[in-house]
Structure formats: structure tokens, C-alpha cells
């Protein structure tokens, strides 16, 4: 496919990798913010092919992973109501709540439906005027314009049986929270390309300046990631700390203004809890008061939510990069994608699931490895295999 295949070329990947090795003189620790980037890095073995001492810490940018347990439990309580059609992006369905998950609830008869776009949830509401349709509005800045549009359209078209359970998080406050932590080891960031496609990168300029860290807006294909790593290391080696843009084909400094305007007309910034991390000030969106009638938390009384995480799960330390899945006693044994204990094992954006699907730490005889390491192995496909 155009603009996709070109950025997966193993020959070019090797050239970029050699260039990274050539310019690296010291150990450096980088963080890729986005779970989609983690997926590519682990799957392609990019982290293992980097020079000795260059370490990739996998960031908290997995919306499925950081949606707080309270919100998952609220989703479960709302979805269990007989008058409700509960709609969600697919990867939230297997996220463990305190006692169950949405998919299990669906198997027990709850009307839980996967939608690709929040506008599909709106269509379901139009088609089912006698039922309440609730959409689980999770995600980072990437899903916010879509989720905001659904709410704005519901208001404009008077679709009053539609509401959203909001759990929106923002990237820059999470980065500064990490940088403020005394345990922080991150020296440079690969910023999330699609978050920046919408938001631009002006928010990152004061962060690079204040914390003296290079921030490289980076795409999602193997060559994008290798080039982003190369640009970040080049800055570190040269003692620079700027915001640079690797993902020039999709990202501009200002972002998409109309999307930003729509988001800020429907949402406002507020404190938000991150699963495994805790509350980060001003790190999420909530509905503005004028859209309160579309707030599922106000529409449905879910009672007291008592949350309980699985005691063996170290998701918090994984999300902040303090530990890797290989440090977890439950990884690959008690916890796997079929039966996840914690959210990072659910979504392929999650570090645990990314490790698992690449067969990391599962023994050489593992039948789970479906990785196709583009970087370490010779070109996968023979000429003309496409």
C-alpha cells in the first residue's frame, strides 16, 4: 500500500541501523511514548539491534493500559444494565476490571458492541431510540477529535439516548510527570506521531527546553522509528535538545486546527488517574458542563466502585519503564493474552503483549512467536513475492 510499504524496507532499515551504530559513542536511554511504536520496535527487534548501551524504555502511551480500573468497573456496571447498549473500541473488551471484563459480560448476555468509529455508536443510538447507547470514550489525543465529534453531533441532532463514559488522557503531562520523577532515566523521547498530527508539537517545545531533552516526533513504520532513534541520538551526541519532526509526511507544527477546536469545545482539561501510575494533574479531558447530559457517569448511578487489581501484576512499573515484562513472575505463566491479569497484556500496544507476541522470554520452543524481525533477519520476502 502506498505510504506504508515503502517504510518497511529491510535493506534501508539496515542502512539506518548502521548509521545509528556509526554515530553512537555513549550509552543513551530513549523512550518511545506510543504503544503503537512499542509494538513495531519489539516486533521487529529494533531495540535488540541497537548499539550496546542504547536502551529503549517503552512508554505509557497505551490507552487501553492506562484507563483507570474505576472507569473499567463503571463501564462494566453500565454495560450490565438491561436498558443499555454498550459500545466500545475493540481492544477495551478484554481489559480486566476488578472482577470481570466486557467480553465476559457480553457472553453472559449484556448488549456490548464493538464499533470502529464513535459515529457508528451514534448510528446505533439512532436505530435504537428506546435504548440507551453508551460509548466508552477512551484514548489519547488521537481519538479525542472522533469522540468529541460524536458528542457534538449527538447534541446537534438531538440524539438524547446517546452518552459517553469518558476516560481521556494526554501525552505531554505524562511526559513531564516521568521527567519530574527522581527515578527517571529517559534522556530523549520519540513523540507519538499521530498525537502530534492532530495537536502539532508546540506543546513539546517548552518540555524540550525545560528538561533539556530531545523530542523527535516519530511515525510508526520500522524506517520511521529507526530514523527517529537516529535523530534523537544525533541530538544527544551533539548536546542539542530540540523538538524535531521525523514524521514530516503527516505532521505539521500547528496540527489540525479544526480538530483541536472541536476537542476543546466539547472537552476541558482536568486531573486524570492513570491505571498503574496514579493521578497526574491536568492530564486528561472531561466533558464540558454544557455537554453534561451526554455524560454516562451522570446519567447512570453506578453505585460505589470498589476496585481491586490482581496482586501479581506489576503493570504500573511496566508503564513507567521501571521494569520490563521479563521482571514479572506472572508474565507468560499466570498472565498471557488469552488470560490477561493486567491491561498491558491486552492490547497489542501494551508492552507485555508486544513482548509476548514476539516470543520474548518464552523459551526458544515457543509456538507463540509470530514475529517477523525485519531488522535482524535477512529480507523476508524473495523478490517478486509481493
Amino acid at each position: 500500500m502506498k505510504y506504508l510499504d515503502e517504510y518497511r524496507d529491510p535493506v534501508l532499515a539496515k542502512k539506518l541501523l548502521a548509521e545509528i551504530h556509526r554515530i553512537t559513542t555513549r550509552p543513551w536511554t530513549l523512550m518511545e511514548v506510543c504503544g503503537g511504536q512499542t509494538h513495531t520496535i519489539v516486533k521487529q527487534g529494533i531495540d535488540e539491534a541497537l548499539p550496546e548501551g542504547v536502551r529503549m524504555i517503552h512508554g505509557p502511551g497505551c490507552p487501553v493500559c492506562v484507563t483507570p480500573l474505576e472507569q473499567v468497573d463503571k463501564a462494566l456496571a453500565i454495560a450490565a444494565r438491561p436498558d443499555v447498549i454498550f459500545t466500545s473500541y475493540g481492544d477495551m473488551l478484554r481489559v480486566p476490571g476488578s472482577s470481570t471484563d466486557l467480553l465476559a459480560l457480553k457472553a453472559r448476555g449484556a448488549d456490548v458492541r464493538i464499533v470502529y468509529s464513535p459515529l457508528d455508536a451514534l448510528k446505533i443510538a439512532l436505530a435504537n431510540p428506546a435504548r440507551q447507547v453508551v460509548f466508552f470514550a477512551v484514548g489519547f489525543e488521537t481519538t479525542a477529535p472522533a469522540n468529541a465529534m460524536a458528542v457534538a453531533e449527538a447534541a446537534r441532532r438531538g440524539i438524547d439516548n446517546f452518552s459517553v463514559l469518558v476516560s481521556h488522557v494526554l501525552v505531554p503531562p505524562a511526559m513531564t510527570a516521568l521527567l519530574d520523577s527522581p527515578a527517571n532515566r529517559v534522556q530523549g523521547f520519540l513523540a507519538a506521531g499521530h498525537v502530534c498530527a492532530i495537536m502539532g508539537w508546540t506543546e513539546y517545545e517548552p518540555i524540550a527546553e525545560k528538561y533539556r531533552v530531545p523530542i523527535v516526533v516519530t511515525g510508526f513504520e520500522p524506517l520511521d522509528l529507526l530514523e527517529g532513534i537516529w535523530m534523537a541520538i544525533r541530538q544527544l551526541e551533539e548536546g542539542r535538545h530540540e523538538v524535531e519532526n521525523q514524521y514530516t509526511r503527516a505532521v505539521t507544527r500547528e496540527g489540525v486546527r479544526l480538530a483541536q477546536q472541536q476537542v476543546m469545545s466539547v472537552f476541558e482539561v482536568g486531573n486524570r488517574k492513570w491505571r498503574g501510575v496514579g493521578e497526574i494533574p491536568m492530564s486528561g479531558y472531561r466533558l464540558r458542563p454544557e455537554y453534561a447530559r451526554f455524560d454516562a457517569e451522570l446519567k447512570f448511578d453506578v453505585g460505589d466502585i470498589q476496585t481491586m487489581e490482581h496482586p501479581a501484576c506489576i503493570a504500573g512499573a511496566i508503564l513507567t519503564g521501571e521494569k520490563t515484562p521479563l521482571d514479572c513472575t506472572a508474565y507468560g505463566t499466570l498472565c498471557n493474552p488469552q488470560k490477561p491479569l493486567g491491561a498491558p497484556m491486552v492490547s497489542s500496544e501494551g508492552t507485555c503483549a508486544a513482548f509476548f507476541s514476539a516470543g520474548r522470554g518464552l523459551g526458544s520452543g515457543s509456538s507463540f512467536s509470530n514475529a517477523l524481525p525485519l531488522v535482524q533477519v535477512a529480507p523476508i520476502a524473495p523478490e517478486g513475492a509481493r
Binding site: P118, S348, E349, A385
Partner: protein, 116 residues
């Protein structure tokens, strides 16, 4: 949940006052909301995420990057990673009948992909 996929705009229409269209991803055609990119034209490439065009692909920039990096490609069957979840009906063409009736109760082995 942040994976977006580049595709070509093949249809632009007004749907109840909202700019919608179809985007072709290498043969799979999906509905997408185009409201955030009012200047988009037929034949333009956009990045689509959760049913919304979130960015126009800058062809000149794309070519420039490729010029720097060289030219050629190896196809990997990864169209599947375009949706907000492998469980999602993301890769089902909207032209196909029953595109939205995808059964979510798929075996977990189909979990491969999306995405911040």
C-alpha cells in the same frame, strides 16, 4: 489505539450535514469522516484513525523522506493493524455486506494489533 493508516480519498459526500467520504486502503474501502480536513479533494491521501481523517499525507514530504531513504518496499500483511483493536471490524470493507456485524467473540489469536 493510535494507529492510523494512509489511504486515498475516493468519495466525498454530505451525510446529515457532516462531511463524510470513502477512503481506499489498498483495495479495502472504509467510510471516514472528513470534517476536520475541509480542503481535502478526491485522490488525496489521508491518515485515517478510528473512522476520522486526521491528517493529509504530504506527498512531497513523503517522497522527500523516501528519496533520503532510498526506494522500494517489502509487503508485510499488516493491513490488519489499522483499527482501534484487532477485534474491531476495521479491515472489513464498508462495501461488503454486514460490515458492522463482525462478531467480537473471536478467538484471541486474532489479536494482533492497533493502538497512542
Amino acid at each position: 489505539m493510535c494507529l492510523g493508516i494512509p489511504g486515498k480519498v475516493t468519495e466525498i459526500r454530505d451525510e446529515a450535514g457532516l462531511a463524510m467520504g470513502k477512503v481506499d486502503f489498498g483495495g479495502v474501502r472504509k467510510d471516514a469522516c472528513l470534517a476536520y480536513l475541509p480542503d481535502i479533494k478526491l485522490g488525496d491521501y489521508v491518515i485515517v484513525h478510528v473512522g476520522f481523517a486526521i491528517s493529509q499525507v504530504d506527498e512531497a514530504e513523503a517522497l522527500k523522506t523516501l528519496e533520503i531513504l532510498g526506494e522500494m518496499g517489502v509487503m508485510e500483511p499488516e493491513l490488519m493493524t489499522m483499527g482501534p483493536g484487532m477485534d474491531a471490524p476495521a479491515v472489513v470493507s464498508d462495501d461488503a455486506p454486514g460490515a458492522l456485524t463482525f462478531d467480537p467473540a473471536l478467538p484471541p489469536s486474532s489479536m494482533a494489533g492497533p493502538v497512542a
